[in-house]
Each structure stands twice: as C-alpha cells, then as structure tokens.
C-alpha cells in the first residue's frame, strides 16, 4: 500500500486530517472550532457596541519652518502671488495615541510613506509587535531604522510594505538612504491602545475606542509633547483644545 504524506489529502472528508484519524474525532474538532468562532463574533459585537470616539484639536503656536537648506541653483519667486512660508505639516509632524485600556492590539494605527515623506514622522508602535510600513509613493524608498535588527536600508518598492518589529526601548531613528528629507522616529510603547487621525488643522480623532481609561499622548519628533488622561465611554469624548508650543 502506498504510504501517503501527512499533508496530502485523503479524500473529501479528511482533507485536513492526519492519516488514519477516525471520522468521529474529526467531527468533534469541527464542532469545537465552530463554537469558538461564535464566541469570538459575539465578543466583537459586544465590543463595538461598547466603543466610543475620542476627538479633539491641538494648536501649535508657530507653524513656520526654517527654509530648506537643500542645495539648488534657483529658488526664485514666481512674481504673481506672494510666496507662502514653509509651514509645519501637522499631519506628519504630530502623532496622537491612546495608551492604556484593556490589553489588545492597537486600533487605527497605520504607518506610511506618502507624498514623499513619512506619515506620521513619529511612529508610535506596540513594543515587540510587528507592524507594516507601507510605501504609498511612486518611487522606492530605502529606510534605515537604527538600533533595530533588520533595520538596514532595504528598498521598498512603490505600493509595497516593509514589516518591522520594534522591540521595547527606543526611540529608533528612521531615515531614507535616498531622500535626505525623510526622517522619523519609531517609539515602541507597551500599552498602545489606539492611533488617532490628525487633520491639517490639528483636529484629531480616535474612532471606535473601546471604553476604558486611557492616556492621550501627542508626540513630536519622537518625544511626548502632551499627555493627559481620558476616560472613554460608549459615546463621543471631545478633548478640550490643546495648545502646544
């Protein structure tokens, strides 16, 4: 008789079963998995039903930036409309996160390169957890993450993502081997619960945050520039305006 390998299907009924397993035992296993899935679904529904939203706004006193020092031959005003000053892009420059609450995977966190730069520049991640840094640009980027194993400059093609695991500690500096203007920081935290979305005007929001007590932290340049406690319920929580220097 021909000896079959373990991962070879035996037939329609035992496609993923070890060879020789009795049919009754297989049916029992399927029932267990079905029950587990049902419990998980019910828990998710309950969690969503108990989640709230945190909103707020922060303001920066001085959004102007020093002019770029990049070398170039020409930088002449066009002569028609007054040239605008270099301004801080709040979406890139600041990061708002919630820390604490029940242990679990952080929600709402995405880390990208978009528009030619990191978005956001300060990437607060869960320590030891794996996250993906997406390249949303039309050209490859070669990010270097100092102090992290596997942080050597590896080209990430347009539309691809680079998986990164940041151990506890840090922060870890991020730079691009091709583009000098791309500079950021990875800040691992143990109790990261949610990442907020920041608008051009400094408005931020945390949709669907599980109810609980959190710390709202705003980062800039890898450092916490504002931190406060928030208690999230089932409704919307609007954080009073935050003024940052």
């Amino acid at each position: 008789m021909k000896q079959r390998r373990f991962d070879e299907p035996h037939g329609p009924d035992d496609r993923f079963s070890p060879p020789g397993a009795p049919a009754r035992e297989i049916a029992s296993r399927r029932a267990k998995w079905s029950a587990l899935g049902l419990v998980a679904g019910l828990s998710l529904v309950a969690a969503v039903a108990s989640a709230g939203e945190v909103t707020g706004r922060f303001a920066v006193a001085n959004r102007s930036m020093p002019p770029s020092q990049d070398a170039h031959y020409w930088n002449a005003w066009n002569g028609f409309v007054a040239a605008g000053p270099a301004r801080v892009d709040l979406r890139r420059e600041f990061t708002a996160v919630l820390r604490g609450g029940a242990a679990g995977d952080p929600v709402g966190c995405s880390y990208r390169i978009r528009g030619g730069d990191l978005l956001p520049r300060t990437m607060v991640v869960k320590a030891g957890a794996r996250f993906r840094l997406e390249n949303g640009d039309g050209t490859p980027h070669e990010l270097t993450i100092e102090g992290i194993e596997g942080g050597a400059p590896i080209p990430t093609a347009a539309g691809n993502a680079r998986p990164i695991t940041a151990p506890a500690g840090g922060p870890y500096a991020v730079s691009d081997a091709v583009y000098a203007h791309i500079r950021g920081t990875i800040v691992p935290v143990d109790d990261l619960a949610a990442c907020g979305t920041i608008g051009e005007d400094g408005a931020f929001s945390f949709p669907e945050v599980p109810a609980g007590n959190y710390k709202l932290a705003i980062y800039r340049g890898g450092e916490v520039v504002h931190e406060q406690d928030v208690q999230v319920g089932t409704g919307e929580l609007e954080v009073p305006r935050i003024n940052l220097n």
Partner: protein
Amino acid sequence: MISRLWYFVIAAIAGAAVAAAYVAQGTLDYRSAQSARESLRRDRAELELMLRTDARNRLDSLGPMAAHEEVRTALAAASNGRRGLDSAARTRLGNTLAQLNGQLQEGAAQLLFALDANGAIVAQLGGTTPPAGAGIGAFPVAERALRGYLTDDVLVYSDGQNPAIYRAAARPVVQGNRYVGAIVHCSEIGADLANRLSSRLGDVSLAFFFRGEITTVDADAPGVSRAELETGLAAALEAPELNERGHSEVVELPNDGVGVFVLAKGTARHAGAGYAIARTPAVLGSPMALFDAVPDAVMGSVNWLLVVAVPLVLALLGVLFFFLERDRPFSGFRKLAEAVGAGSAPHFDEAGVPARFRKIAHSINEALGRGGGGLAAPKAKADLDEILGQAGSSSSSPYFGFADGKEDAPKNDLFDAAPKPVLEPPGAELDDEPQPTTVAALPAGPPSVPPAATALPSTPKPPPPAPLMPESPFDDDDESGATMVAAVPDELIAASQTSPLERHYRQVYDDFIAMKHRLGEATVGLTYEKLLATLEKNANAIKSKHGVAEVRFKVYEKNGKAALKATPVK
C-alpha cells in the same frame, strides 16, 4: 691638449643638452599637469554655470505649461478637496501635458508631474503609474514650488525599474490668485547631457556617478576611461572633502589623468550622486617626445640657421683642433720616419720631432742603435772601435792627433785590423805646453765590427750601452736626450781620486764625452775604461819614442768632430 679638452667641452655640451632636454620635458610635464589641475577648477566652475543656466532654461520653458488654462483649471479642481478630479479630467490633463511637453522638443521632460496644492500627483508623464493618492509634495523641489517658487533640484526617482537621477525644475501653478499646484519637470541625467556639456568644455571627460559607481560617461571622452574614473571616485569617496565641501580635491587617476568629483547640487547628493570631470595632461614622458609635441608654429619659429651653424662650428673647431694637434704632427713624424726609412736621415732628429712623438722617435732611435731588430737597416755597432776609429783604415779617420803631427807616431795597437790612428809627432821642443799638430777624427762611415771587446780583458764589464742618439738641443724631455754613462766601479773611482794621472785621464774622458755631445756625436759604448786603455797605450808608445816621462792629452774639435791631441811632457 686643446683637442682633448675639446672632447670634454663637447661632452659637457652634450651632457648639458641632455640635461636641458630632461629638464624641459620634466618642466613641460609638470606645467601640463598643473595646467590640467587649474583647468579642472575652471571646468568645474564652468560646468556649474552651465547647469545653472540649464536649470533656468528649463524653468522658463515650463512657463507656458504652468500658465496653460486647462492645466490651471484642472489643478484647481484637483486641489478642491471635496470634489477632486475625475479620471476623465485626469486623462485630459495628461494629454494636454504631453502635448505641451512635446513642444519643448529637446527640453522635453522624461518625467513630468502635475501636482495639486497638497502635492498629490494629478497627472504624470513617464515612469510607472503611481499608486492612488501618491504624491511628491514633500520633496523639497515640489514643496518650494507649491509655495510659489521657481526652483530646481537634482533628485533620485525610480522609472519603475531602477532609481535614476533627474534634473528637476518646478513652477507653481496659479489660478485665481492662489497656488493650486505645481508642474515638476524632470530630465534624466544621461549620456546626452554628458556629451552636450563636455563638448562645450573641450578636452575633458565628463561622467556622472551614483552611489559609488560611474553611471554615465561622455561617449566622446578623450583619454579617461570609465575604469579610471571609478578608481578616482573610490579615492574621492574615501577622502572627507567630498562630503564636507561638496567636491573633492584633484584626484590622480591611473595613466596620468586627473579628475575632480563633485556632488550634485540637489537632494540627490544625499544618495551619493554627482559628476566627475577629468583631464589627461599632455605628458611627454621622455625627452624624445619633445619634438612630437611641438606645434608646427613653434617649429616654424625655430632659428634653424643657428641650430645648424652652432653644431657645425663646434664640429669644425673640433676638426681643426684635431688637425693641429694630431694630424699635422703625425704627418711631420711620418715624413721624418719616411726619411729615416729611406736612409736620407740616419735617425730621428728628436729635437725636430713633435713632443708627443718624441718618445716614439727616441725608442726607434734606440732600436736603430741596437741594430734595429729588423726595424731598420743594420747599423754598425756603436762601440769604441767606431768612436776611436780603426787602426789603419784611413789616415783621415783617426781621432788621435800628436802634438808635432809626425806620421811615425806610435800605432794604436788596439786597432790592429783597423786603420791606424795618425799620431803626429810631438813638437821638437816638447814644451810643457803642447802644440796641437795632429788631429784624429772619428771615422765617417760605419766601421766594420772589430773584436774590440776582447782587447780589454782587464777592464770592468762595461755598462749597458747608452742611447745612440746625441743629446738634442730641442728636446724638452731630459731623459730622451740624456747620454747614459755606465756606472764606474768604485775602485776605479778611488784610484782616480788618488792618482793625478788618473784624474787627468778622467778629465780627458769627460772633456771628450762633452765635446762629442756638443758636436752631436754618438757616445754609445765609449766607456772610460776603453778610452783609458787607448790613452795608456798611446802614452806608452810616445814615452818610449820620445823618452819622456809623461804624456798629456787634450780634447779639441777638428772638422766638426771631437779629437784628442797628445803632448809629451818631460
């Protein structure tokens, strides 16, 4: 002497010429290398100016594109965050941009972006289709353009396969008194640009590098290869100047080339992008290459008359000196030798022989005196027989004279086989002062060889024969004309010092030799002992004949030859 010195002069001139050639070649090579270095600095400045002008031209060429109504309208719509721009409008915008870009002809972009006010890509020409929502607004060149500046950059962007270096120029797009976007025009840095720029710079090699590798080389680059440039680039990257100042020092390349490496003036310098300019100095390497490197105009300006005349004069002077110091004396010597060989001269007149041949003449004379060893015709042996004459040979050849000139003077028994010397009888009174009456002359011709040596068995062994040649009055060389007199034994000297008669005979001998020297006669073999024996025999004969107790001899000249006169003394 002058001709010998002339050799040194010529050698010194030749040495100086060789040294001058090497110095000239080294100086030219050094100056050529220095000139190449200086040229590289000028090339860099000139190239920077070209790139600056090129960037300005591209910015200006973007004017119509940025001011195009459709472009402004489309970007204004795209910048409206609420509605955005539908795909059909994007397509129309792309077509418009392609048309406008085509109008730029040689200045057309290989990569062109139309950005909305946030830097998102609304339309793109060239490259691969970007992901939805992609933008380059954070790129410094786009960021400045979106704020209202005409600006440029050298940036790295991927064409979908590999990253490439582009010259970027960007203009803002204004609609309704506000900035609604920007146009970013990118031209890839490639061989076309390298060729175009290097053709304006002249004899240079222009290349672009990226991340430590030469990516593009001017196809018409003279002399400097890609491999050489990569070698220089590696050296430049190791030095701190490139990153600190944006350009390297002048780097020595293999095969005598020099190059300078400059980081790009733009964000691409962060990725190690830049350009290299190299030159190959016209190194001669060898003095022989001097003539190959001389331009025709310079060759035409050379005073060839002088070039030909100076060596010719020097050569003629050398020939003249050679003639004066060698050919002419040699010719004279040859004539003398021919005369001796022909027999018209018995020997070399050393006084008349040039100094440099005098020793040769002297040696030949010596050889002639010894019988020549085949050098010349056999010559009579120069001994006492020849000098004193042979008894009975001739009445005109004796050297002895007697004071009274009588024919029956005693014979010289030394010369039994030879003519007898004529001894003139002493004067009748035989005064104390003898009257010279008879002269004995030397034989005129070469006498036959007598057994003279056997006639003097008791005399000491004669010294080696002295040179045959008489002392030359012209000879400035003492040793060549000196008469060699054999050493006299000590006992004879002692005897002569104690006996007045011996002192007299010694004096006679000395006077006789001196007279012969003065008259140019040979004295070879004429030793004191031989003369003494002859004198004593003659003295004895005269004594017995005249009954005198003593006979005195005196030396005098007769017919140009030395002669002796005997005078009886009572």
